[in-house]
């Protein structure tokens, strides 16, 4: 391994410790990451924008702090990157959409501010499905992103770039957002750890909205501990987001090594009742066995309403999106089609700026909210949501976490499901439960599919604001089986 490769191979906390101990510098880490992005990313497509100069400046500032013996946080000087859904002052923010081409926000998202306050170095903005709508990153308005394990396959979505960049060692950690599985599914497909926190744990301020009542910011990293550190960094109350919680943030790292002994793990009968690819089911069952060996108790639970979750989700999310995306009208930012009249300007701008999946969801959502249909669709979907949450609340009366697959199978091939939106939507079947119920959930790599050698993720869902238990459970597994390896080097 070259010295640069050794640097990019460092995990998040290792990199931070190396800067603090002055074994390396933030600038060296940053240069190594930028060089690797330059070399690897043209074939991968994880980044939409690389902010090299800004990163170098931040790295120099971090090095100056290290020279003075200052350390803002364990992240100080470590290169990271964020999904292109996060507003970054003066830096292109497209949400993966052509309609925001050229838009440079005048402000930073709360999570971006917190990363900066912790001293992290921002490498750039990551590829994603347009407006976070998708499960394969193929809906990016700019370019597809590929899976580092197999470039013919998708990295998952919508935070495909966030997962691929971590897996391919382009960044030591990233931020994504998860509305129906958009952190967990790509994390599973790429063999990294991804956490969707409790709704309200991380501020949504500055995060381009997809479905406001479901969107949540979360970290992706190579190890559970790194994800815990990133989450602790960005979590916390923000008065600019009225849905953000004022509950104090737990010290996830302090309880991380608590093990799985005595942990009560609920296994929903409906989640392992067929429909999974054999390799995925085998890996998930093996993971559950491992927990048992670690002293955890497996308890069968039932989530009878989770089967209606996907229908409810595909009403609620498009309904909110249809309203959230109304502001892209060509008047104030992004692209504007030259037109003589107002209607023409709206129509042309939105027709040119939005991709097919976004248009599909705007139409579905507009329909679901329209007069005469609201009760039958939106209101009923909200009732399902309540029932889904009730199922989980009941499960948590007898268990501490609920475990199951993240996705029905491993990363699929690019183009495989593009023509069949319903098939694509079913990729979210296990993940949307946590979004509808506003609960924390994560994906931790639990092995490889025997047939393809591709990573499989185990999903853990926790009680509201009990990210500590989730992370501790995931870490117990990771400690037992070892940190998931990097994909083979693709030249």
């Amino acid at each position: 391994m070259s010295p640069a490769q050794e640097l990019t191979a460092l995990a998040l906390r290792e990199a931070g410790d190396a800067v603090a101990a002055r074994r390396t510098s933030s600038l060296e880490l940053t240069e190594a990451a930028l060089a690797r992005i330059e070399k690897v990313d043209p074939g991968l497509g994880a980044f939409l924008t690389v902010s090299a100069e800004r990163a170098r400046a931040e790295a120099r500032a971090a090095d100056a702090r290290a020279a003075r013996g200052e350390r803002r946080s364990p992240l100080d000087g470590v290169p990271v990157a964020v999904k292109d859904l996060f507003s970054t002052r003066g830096l292109s923010t497209t949400a993966g959409s052509r309609i925001l081409e050229g838009y440079r926000p005048p402000y930073d998202a709360d999570a971006v501010e917190r990363l900066a306050a912790a001293g992290a170095v921002l490498l750039g903005k990551l590829n994603m499905d347009e407006f976070a709508m998708g499960s394969s990153n193929e809906n990016s308005g700019y370019k597809p992103c590929r899976n580092p394990w197999d470039p013919s396959r998708t990295p998952g979505g919508s935070s495909g770039g966030s997962a691929a960049a971590v897996a391919a060692r382009l960044a030591h950690g990233t931020l994504g957002t998860d509305t129906g599985g958009s952190i967990r599914e790509p994390a599973a497909f790429c063999g990294v750890v991804g956490v969707k926190p409790t709704y309200g744990r991380v501020s949504r301020y500055g995060v381009v909205a997809f479905a406001s009542s479901l969107d949540q910011v979360g970290p992706l990293a190579r190890t559970v501990g790194d994800a815990a550190l990133l989450l602790r960094t960005v979590a916390g109350h923000d008065p600019r987001d009225m849905t953000s919680s004022s509950r104090p943030v737990d010290d996830y790292l302090a309880t991380l090594e608590g093990g799985a002994k005595g942990l009560r793990i609920g296994v929903p009968r409906e989640w392992l009742a067929g429909g999974l690819e054999p390799g995925t089911e085998a890996a998930v069952r093996a993971a559950l066995d491992t927990y048992q060996q670690l002293g955890a108790n497996l308890i069968e639970v039932s989530l009878p309403h989770s089967r209606y979750g996907i229908a409810a989700y595909y009403i609620i999310a498009p309904a909110e999106a249809s309203s959230n995306l109304a502001r892209y009208d060509g008047v104030r930012f992004g692209i504007r089609s030259p037109a003589r009249g107002l209607r023409e300007m709206y129509g042309d701008t939105r027709d040119r700026g939005f991709g097919p999946e976004v248009k599909r969801r705007i139409m579905v959502g507009t329909y679901a909210l329209s007069s005469g249909y609201y009760d039958a669709y939106y209101l009923r979907a909200q009732k399902v949501r309540t029932l889904v949450r009730r199922d989980l609340d009941q499960a948590f009366e007898c268990c501490d976490v609920v475990a199951g697959p993240v996705a029905p199978g491993v990363a699929f091939r690019l183009g495989e499901k593009v023509e069949d939106p319903l098939q694509m939507y079913l990729a979210d079947v296990f993940t949307i439960t946590a979004n509808l119920a506003a609960l924390p959930a994560l994906s931790v790599p639990c092995g490889k599919d025997a047939a393809t050698g591709l990573p499989v993720g185990l999903q853990l869902v926790g009680r509201p604001f009990d990210e500590s238990t989730l992370l501790r459970a995931a870490r117990a597994f990771e400690r037992e089986v070892g940190i998931f390896p990097a994909p083979p080097e693709v030249e």
Binding site: P105, T243, R327
Partner: protein, 485 residues
Amino acid sequence: MALADFQVVIGLEVHAELLTRSKIFCSCSTAFGGEPNAHTCPVCLALPGSLPVLNQRVVEMAVTVGVALGCTIREKSVFARKNYFYPDLPKGYQISQYELPICEGGAVPFTAAGQDKVARLTRIHMEEDAGKNVHGVSEDGASGVDLNRAGVPLIEIVSEPDLRSADEAVEYVRSLRAILMALGVCDGNMQEGSLRADANVSVMRKGAEKYGTRCEIKNMNSFRFLKAAIEYEARRQVEVIEGGGQVEQETRLFDPDRGETRSMRSKEEAHDYRYFPEPDLPPVRVAPELVERLRAALPELPRARSLRYQKDLGLSAYDAGVLVSDAQVAGFFDRALAAYGSGPEAAKKVANWVNGEVARLANESATGPADWKLTPEKLAAVLKLMDAGSIGGPGAKQVVEEVFKTGADPAAVVQQKGLAQVSDEGAIEAVVDRVLAASPAEVERHRSGKKNLTGFFVGQVMKELRGKGNPAVVNALLRKKLGGS
């Protein structure tokens, strides 16, 4: 006349801009005017990722109005999105309230044609104002958008269809406006759009039980236009029915230049606003303790104040009504009266000046008591100078006008402008003698019974004294010299 066979039925939706310092969902200033888009931020520009944060003062003001109007205050109310596209609506939706508004029920008292009446309220809800489109901002004729007003807090006060004439509608709005101003939640400025009314108007044959099809009339920014628009619309609807047609449910716009309403959009073209609960804002919780605190802090309302003025100060219903229609003016009156004296005579005098000369000067300058250089104490001082005989009525008017403009001390103005009244009997007597000596014919005619010539002599004397003679002294001397009257 067919109109007399019909009953007009009116319900009003009044939008009142609240006097908060900052907008409803961000900390931008609500100040009127300013360079276009000077009072904006990522939130009220609806930049991607921005989120609304509710200004708690808006809730308090809405509750205050609700308590004053006898509404039921919801412990839990919900904001909703009203979705429609327009360039002055940056998010593509207005944050308003729909199914669960903050106030329900209640009523507005008003007086029309000398009768005390009440119109019931359906609801009061909170919402944000839109910006405005400005046309022809550049040489190529392009339109611009000014979002300074976007996000200014509004309450919408919706009445039941309880009003039965254009005059009742006007008096309802007048009364509501006075209440909102007394509560200090709205400046009541209809010209600047701080208070706007939309009217739902229908007509039915007298004696009918079922209301006719209604039309919503928009764009009436004065009492005069409100009255004209409703009267026009009622006539129009009666003509349609009398002509054998049917009134179509639609939204109509009042054109003040032509005094007409004209169709803006039909029922078929009506927007489907696709209301749904605003996911970015948790439900608004109003604790009973807050309601009680705001109830206890309510100021005296216009109607109570008017009754008190009539009962305790002996003012006429008219004078009292004019004073209380602007709480600041009523406050000015209170202070002027306190500085001047007590009793019905003093009150009547102060009220006459406040509603007369002072109101005239205020109208001319389009100002309110807060802007006036004439303090209540200075007005009282002018009245006292009059009582002391130092100045006469016309002089007093000149002093008030000067003080109103400059804020100078009234006594100094009297001095400076030479307005002091001549009360010295010796000086006046000399003039009276001169006038009588110069007009022997008139004196003769007066003595032979032409008593209306008294005015002629007073005029001549005053002319000699350049208007500054004390009228009481002049009259008394003339009476003495001409022999009784």
